[in-house]
């Protein structure tokens, strides 16, 4: 199959970018979207040009490295699918595709389709953990966890941190990402002692990183490759409000602002 690509090319964070047009010819319909880009890149290098830079690693939809916009959709048109698991059989010959990096103030472009998502790490640093030093854990079966709650915690914990939720959100909000971690840990008995400070700390960090506010568009849920539900955002709001009303503090778990 033959496709026309319009790809965002940008040399670096402080350089201007532009859309460039490329022809992808003779693409096998069973190849993945990234394999199609590999073919395009081989051609570019052969012609002495710089290949299109994009993040990718596991190519099986779990590491969260890959992701860009295809015709305005984060990870492309297929639900519950990262771009590495999107196969060309879902497109047709002659299609014209626009590829752009995640767009968010908190995710500055590194090069072409690569962005800096370290703001997510800084949200986790503000409380996305259970403080249990190695060696101090009790015997595992001393803490029964009802299966329903454990399963629900898993549903939240399945987040791969790809950033599609932020990229698709008209506000560039990180509520789905943040709520997934707050809910994963807040649903488990082990996560209770730090539940209040976690919710407060992570919400403060999220705001400090320059993410937008949540207006319940639910675009995030629609594009999430792991199908994480916006119910977790409601949970985050409850935990945050509860912690505020209880007069809890986020403690020392403060991190620097800014996306760097």
């Amino acid at each position: 199959m033959d496709l026309t690509l319009h790809v965002w090319r940008q040399g670096g964070p402080d350089q201007p970018g532009r859309m460039e047009r490329y022809e992808a010819k003779g693409i096998n319909e069973h190849s993945s979207f990234l394999e199609m880009l590999d073919v395009v890149n081989e051609g570019l290098i052969g012609a002495g040009q710089e290949p299109i830079a994009f993040d990718h690693d596991c190519r099986e939809g779990i590491c969260g490295s890959c992701g860009f916009m295809i015709n305005g959709h984060a990870h492309g048109p297929l639900p519950h699918t990262t771009v590495c698991q999107l196969h060309m059989r879902h497109f047709k010959s002659g299609d014209e595709l626009y590829l752009e990096p995640w767009r968010s103030k908190a995710f500055p472009v590194v090069k072409d389709l690569m962005v800096n998502r370290s703001a997510f790490d800084r949200i986790i640093q503000a409380g996305g953990f259970i403080s249990i030093p190695t060696g101090s854990a009790p015997e595992a079966n001393l803490i029964p966890v009802p299966k329903e709650e454990s399963d629900q915690a898993f549903d939240a914990a399945t987040c791969i941190g790809c950033g599609a939720c932020v990229a698709q959100c008209p506000n560039g909000a990180a509520q789905l990402f943040t709520s997934a971690k707050v809910s994963h840990l807040g649903l488990l008995p082990q996560g209770q002692p730090e539940r209040d400070r976690r919710a407060l700390g992570m919400v403060e960090a999220m705001e400090a990183q320059g993410f937008g506010a949540c207006s319940n568009y639910a675009e995030c849920e629609a594009v999430c490759p792991k199908g994480i539900s916006i119910d977790f955002i409601a949970r985050l709001n409850r935990d945050f409000l509860g912690a505020k009303l209880a007069g809890a503090s986020s403690g020392e778990a403060k991190v620097k602002g800014g996306a760097g």
Partner: protein, 648 residues
């Protein structure tokens, strides 16, 4: 250059430092005698941890909790993306929650036997002991393992084990364990005890006065070359399955860190011990960039078969029962479809080599769930394997509820790696190696659900004890990058980058990698022969020369340059590929994942030669152009007696 000479060049076999005493007392006694570093002094030591997967992240977090000053490096944009994240099946632990007769001894025994008696007893026993602590630690971190309705932890039997000792988190156990370690790591980053360097690749090890004193790195965004000094260097950089180009590993997984450490004097042990996983999706075309694993738990319910008649091209549902060969059930009646990975992979290869493959390209075997669906219903199968079926459908466009899956073996894990002693220190003092990057625990074949166990045992529970023993004698000795050793290593790194960028060739690094991988797969894959391995070495060396002369890398050094990154990694895969073939040539026996066609029983099973090959093969690097030197660490079996593995 005198200060970065190869250490121990006079020594032959380094001391493995295996403690004396009964097998179940070795680790306990050893811990009691390891030297300690006073809590107030720990902050005076800098430890460099390279890699942020299960082994690296757990080590970095645990060492920081103890008080050491840690720097952690990963090439990905965040430590959470290391390839441990992709492990599906589970993690073994000898908890015996099922009351089915499991014990530390049994897990130890199964692992030694599964490794075809080519691993160290003492290391494996320690691994089995620590397995129970790992589960406790991970549960306390909030890892959402599968649970029963009672709220207690669930287990399953995995990879043919006779007991249910595998803990799992749906089909995403690696992800959940890694996120647990990542969160512990981020907590230490927030506390200022770990300084994290994402998108940073280690390109050389600095060895001064025979000790590892630091690393040289490249910032993958700016291209800046940096020097980092430390009292100890910990490599947790994973395995080298990508030497085959097509493997289940992530695209970025590479051998560079351990290979460059090898070139600085660290012995590379058993490089030919590679694991080919039996259940992966077959290739579909030459554009293919990687292979995808289908968890081996599928073999619990799926039946493997091929058409009896090689000329049979009918679709699988039209092939009647009597014309199918369920070859695993036929050859191994007691284990059937649950034989260990090496046996399953080898039989799949010999079957398709006979021309009896599945599908239009005849490049796979069928994994059929129709009997299981009839027996327990589609819903029950969906509950067990739903995410895997969905993934298969996504990749192939075929619905495995309706048509049998097609599967084929693919490179998945490497048991070989840098040699380490019982303290996980290499023969270069101060250089520690953890997880898949070392050679220590899996012998010639790794059992399912044991990789996660080893990575976390090494990082959470071994290195925090053993590193202090080494560090304690360096108290009050500051580290510096202002030395001849660092200058030389930097110059080495910069020189290589410059050579790459000034080349005026035509071919891409990837095109060489693909060709190299094909050679290694054809001759040093599942089936190996002396003639094939010798041919492979000639081909590899010829291709390497071409690579050095005809390579094209656009762009410059001071920028994001993914082609430059690839070129460096491919260069190292060339060296490793040659050493793998050499190692496979020297090992005139078949064991585990290493199957030499010349050495098989009349029934076609692996024929081990304990009299002559019961050793770890330790390879010492000699300068380019000279063959590596082989040292042998004899394996001593005090507790179990090596037997022939039989799964009939």
């Amino acid at each position: 250059m005198t200060s970065t000479t190869t250490p121990n060049s006079a020594a032959t076999v380094p001391d493995a430092k295996i403690p004396p005493g009964p097998i179940d007392q070795k680790w306990l006694e050893h811990k009691n005698h390891l030297k300690l570093v006073n809590p107030n002094n720990k902050r005076k030591f800098e430890v460099l941890v390279v890699g942020s997967g299960l082994a690296g992240a757990s080590a970095a977090a645990s060492l920081a909790e103890l008080g050491y000053e840690v720097k952690c490096f990963c090439f990905q944009d965040t430590p959470r993306r290391a390839h441990s994240i992709a492990a599906q099946g589970g993690i073994n632990a000898a908890k015996n929650y099922r009351n089915d007769g499991d014990s530390i001894f049994r897990l130890f025994y199964d692992t030694v036997k599964g490794g075809d008696f080519r691993s160290r007893e003492a290391n494996v026993h320690r691994l089995a002991e620590l397995s129970v602590n790992i589960i406790d630690q991970c549960v306390a971190q909030g890892v959402p393992f599968a649970r029963e309705y009672s709220g207690l932890l669930d287990n399953r039997s995995f990879g043919g084990a006779q007991v249910a000792r595998t803990f799992y988190a749906r089909g995403q156990t690696g992800q959940q364990l890694l996120l647990g370690a990542y969160q512990a790591l981020e907590r230490q980053i927030a506390a200022g005890k770990v300084k994290m360097f994402p998108r940073t690749e280690m390109l050389d090890l600095v060895v001064e006065d025979g000790r590892a004193t630091g690393i040289v790195t490249r910032d993958l965004i700016t291209g800046r070359i940096d020097s980092h000094a430390g009292h100890a260097v910990v490599l947790a950089t994973g395995g080298y399955s990508n030497v085959f180009y097509l493997s289940t590993n992530a695209k970025g997984s590479n051998v560079t860190a351990i290979w460059r450490a090898h070139k600085r004097g660290a012995y590379f042990a058993n490089p030919c011990f590679t694991q080919i996983h039996p259940t992966c999706i077959p290739t579909s075309g030459d554009y293919q960039s990687k292979l995808t694993l289908m968890s081996e738990s599928l073999r619990n319910d799926g039946r493997i078969w091929v058409p009896k008649d090689p000329s049979d091209v009918r679709s699988p549902d039209r092939i009647p029962e009597g014309e199918r060969d369920y070859y695993l059930e036929r050859k191994y009646p007691s284990f059937g479809n649950l034989v260990p990975r090496d046996v399953a992979a080898r039989t799949a290869t010999s079957t398709t080599d006979d021309g009896r493959g599945a599908g239009a390209q005849k490049n796979g075997v069928y994994l059929d769930f129709s009997d299981a669906i009839r027996r327990v219903g589609e819903k029950a199968i969906e509950e067990r394997y739903g995410n895997l079926f969905e993934m298969y459908d996504k990749i192939t466009g075929e619905n495995p509820y309706k048509v049998p899956m097609r599967i084929y073996p693919a490179p998945h894990y490497t048991m070989g790696g840098l040699w380490v002693d019982y303290n996980l220190m290499s023969n270069v003092p101060g250089l520690f190696v953890l997880g898949e990057a070392n050679f220590s625990d899996h012998g010639a074949n790794r059992l399912g659900a044991s990789a996660l166990m080893q990575g976390l045992a090494d990082g959470y529970f071994v290195i925090p004890y053993t590193i202090g023993d080494y560090l304690s004698s360096f108290l009050g000795k500051p580290v510096t990058t202002e030395s001849e050793g660092f200058r030389e290593a930097r110059a080495n790194v910069e020189g290589q980058i410059e050579r790459f960028l000034t080349g005026q060739g035509k071919r891409t690094a990837d095109s060489y990698h693909r060709e190299l991988g094909k050679i290694v797969w054809d001759h040093c894959g599942i089936l190996r022969t002396a003639a094939g391995l010798a041919t492979a070495r000639t081909k590899i060396q010829a291709l390497q020369q071409e690579f050095e002369q005809d390579l094209r890398i656009p762009g410059g050094a001071a920028q994001v340059n993914q082609e430059l990154e690839r070129a460096g990694r491919v260069a190292d895969f060339f060296g490793l590929a040659d050493l793998m073939c050499r190692d496979a040539l020297e090992r005139n026996e078949s064991c585990g994942g290493h199957f030499r066609e010349e050495y098989q029983t009349p029934e076609g099973e692996a024929k081990r030669d304990d009299e002559n090959f019961s050793y770890g093969a330790l390879w010492e690097w000699n300068d380019a152009g000279h063959e590596s030197t082989l040292h042998k660490e004899p394996l001593v079996f005090e507790t179990v007696s090596p037997s022939q593995r039989s799964y009939k």
